[in-house]
Symmetry: C2
Subunit: 132 residues, 2 copies
Amino acid sequence: MTSETITGPDFSCSNGLLPAIAQDVETNEVLMLAYMNEEAYQETLRSGQAVYWSRSRNRLWKKGEESGHLQTVESIAIDCDADTILLKVRQQGVACHEGYRSCFFRQVSNDGVKIHATRLVDPKTIYPSTND
Amino acid sequence: MTSETITGPDFSCSNGLLPAIAQDVETNEVLMLAYMNEEAYQETLRSGQAVYWSRSRNRLWKKGEESGHLQTVESIAIDCDADTILLKVRQQGVACHEGYRSCFFRQVSNDGVKIHATRLVDPKTIYPSTND
């Protein structure tokens, strides 16, 4: 695929499952990374809500379908190789099933791991039966 | 792996090759996504410069090793599943081998693809023989 012929994500890569980064449209904070197959991508384009492919559940997964913590998609970009997707979203509530705004709440360094964010929601009360 | 036992990226996932997002430490712009194996991650931690695993060249790849467009790593985070890495970096020059600051210079929508960034560098003059 040359630069001129790119018309969208290239689902012939990576067994049809491309990484999709969700970024807060206001702050540019990276909220999470999940995966999209072509169906998830088309459904995201069509609906304006982020829909991923759940590798653990092996099915389409509308983000927030159980928790209510939906992601409204404001724009979509793809990278130079057309094998990564970047969503700018308006996140309702929190992106992380552990109750943090972003899934990237752990910093790592030569000194080990430390949590550098504030838990906003008790995951037990919000997600009683799901990892969404 | 439970939340309490996370001590770093979990390279037992995804055949040992985890997606690594590079984000501009000043603007939070997402610059690129590449992959790290454990060796690339350890070398990044040790050196403070972003080192990835090149899937096309099948070897460690210090970002900017040929172009000079290095990434100095300011912080590293991992996500809740410990299977994605997020680097905050100071990018020298441009991240993209096509001469754009970010690899995500193409926006996609129901209307098709359009370039929404300015090319800063002519890739032919900077990268005569590499895709770095």
